[in-house]
């Protein structure tokens, strides 16, 4: 009961993923799903959190995304219940949708990206996500990932036996060259988690650089309160 997109930005080399799910706190399964200069991976359907490190370790040893995926499948007796995506640092994409997943399950893959979805309304969700991601290649990776999640939501999103299911949690994660994420935002429990993720993103995006600069040059820093007020005023001016 999730739909996700994993991708490598061809412009910056950043790696990231966007996830939306009926399960709560789905972002917990994004732990270690990205490793800079190595790849990005995610297992859903029935999550297997140990798969993240295993997939990235296989890539780091030198296996390509297809071979890494094969190893994950052979390592897991319940592989038919899993849905797995891998994108390596060269954009090589590999994807697996097990036969025992509930509801409609499927995937799309392109140069540097993978879309996976299970218990979704249908293939139009996958197509809409792929189109939205490919529509804006010059944008920042996180913006493209978020646009793909919104397109998946708008194309019908998640579906259970009784019809549409809400996205109750969502996550947006992007890493660049550093030992920590460039962006890592989550909504853990919400009736419209993708909408809420957009709200968090809109507020976080302009502050990210502020916090970095503040730490690098603390003697010249303005306070967080002053910055927050300045930002609010700017946003108010932009609205009027």
């Amino acid at each position: 009961m999730s739909f996700s997109i994993l991708a490598r930005c061809a412009r910056t080399g950043q790696l990231g993923l966007g996830v939306a799910s009926y399960s709560i706190a789905v972002g917990i399964y994004c732990d270690a799903s990205v490793r800079p200069g190595i790849g990005v991976t995610f297992t859903q359907g029935n999550a297997l959190p140990s798969n993240n490190r295993l997939a990235l370790n296989a890539l780091a040893q030198g296996w390509g995304s297809e071979q890494a995926l094969r190893q994950l499948i052979e390592n897991d007796p319940s592989f038919e219940y899993r849905q797995i995506g891998i994108v390596d640092r060269e954009g090589g994409a590999a994807v697996h949708s097990g036969r025992s997943l509930l509801g409609y399950a499927g995937h799309r893959a392109g140069a540097g990206w993978v879309v996976i979805g299970e218990a979704i309304a249908g293939e139009n969700v996958l197509n809409a996500m792929a189109e939205a991601f490919e529509a804006v290649p010059p944008e920042d990776l996180e913006a493209r990932l978020l646009a793909a999640l919104e397109a998946g939501r708008d194309a019908g999103g998640l579906a259970g036996k009784g019809g549409r299911l809400p996205e109750r949690s969502a996550a947006l994660v992007v890493w660049g060259v550093r030992d920590y994420s460039d962006m890592d935002l989550r909504v853990d429990l919400h009736e419209r988690a993708v909408d809420e993720l957009r709200r968090v993103y809109a507020d976080f995006k302009p502050t990210a650089a502020f916090y970095e600069e503040r730490a690098r040059n603390p003697r010249a820093a303005v306070s967080a309160m002053t910055f927050a007020e300045t930002l609010r005023n700017e946003q108010r001016r932009a609205v009027t």
Partner: protein, 231 residues
């Protein structure tokens, strides 16, 4: 402006931390907790690389005390930083630079440390500590939540006589596995600590179901049925 608590559960050996702040998405800093190694959580004018560096050193065998001295020697802006480090033996240090914004300070206990800046006063940290110690036999994640609530109820964050809301909050607990056992977040909310209780309580209801689904997906019921049975 942030208050945090880092701890090693004396019963189970699990590591956990809780944090609440005016800034957005404090829980994005998952590099601060490393299973089987320890916790390094920096704040105030923090460089994220600091936590990675400190945990790498812990993993190499240096003590928290030595790491703190090394960080000081390497950082011309050390007086602006605030952090705590705890290792597997529950050796714990905390540091609050004199140029962090007032009120700032720390309490170091036998297996935990709590520290914050731009707080209402020492009462915020006292509230955190007494919340944490209220149920010493409780699960670490619940103790951390009570700690954050204690800090909130004791006045939380304040500057120039004005209270500042907790807009994001985070609890992360790791055991022996590489991935976290509990990791719940509120990234942007008017009452982030209140909301974190709602999320954590809900998460606890799902925790066993999700673990079983990971382990043996063929035997479980669909999640929508599980949710219906909860109500």
């Amino acid at each position: 402006m942030t208050f945090s608590i880092i701890a090693r559960c004396p019963r189970t050996g699990r590591f956990g931390m809780g944090s609440a702040t005016f800034s957005i998405a404090c829980g994005r800093r998952n590099e601060s907790v490393r299973p089987n190694v320890g916790i390094s959580k920096s704040q105030a004018f923090y460089l994220r690389q600091t936590d990675v560096l400190a945990l790498n050193m812990l993993q190499q065998g240096y003590t928290p005390e030595y790491i703190m001295r090394t960080l000081e020697a390497a950082d011309p802006d050390f007086e602006f930083r605030q952090f705590g480090i705890i290792d597997r033996a529950a050796n714990v240090v905390a540091y609050t630079g004199k140029s962090t914004k007032p009120w700032s300070g720390q309490i170091v206990g036998p297996y935990y440390a709590t520290y914050g800046n731009v707080l209402a006063g020492p009462q915020t940290l006292q509230g955190i500590e007494s919340g944490f110690l209220r149920h010493p036999d409780g699960q670490l994640e619940l103790r951390l939540l009570e700690a954050l609530e204690g800090g909130r109820d004791a006045g939380g964050q304040a500057a120039d006589g004005k209270r500042w809301p907790e807009r994001s909050a985070w609890i992360r607990v790791v055991d022996r596995l590489d991935h976290p056992e509990v990791d719940v977040r509120v990234d942007l909310h008017d009452k982030a600590v209140d909301e974190l209780r709602r999320v954590l309580e809900e998460f606890k209801r799902y925790q066993d179901y999700y673990l079983e689904r990971v382990r043996d997906p063929g035997t479980g019921i669909p999640e929508e049925d599980f949710v219906a049975a909860l109500k």
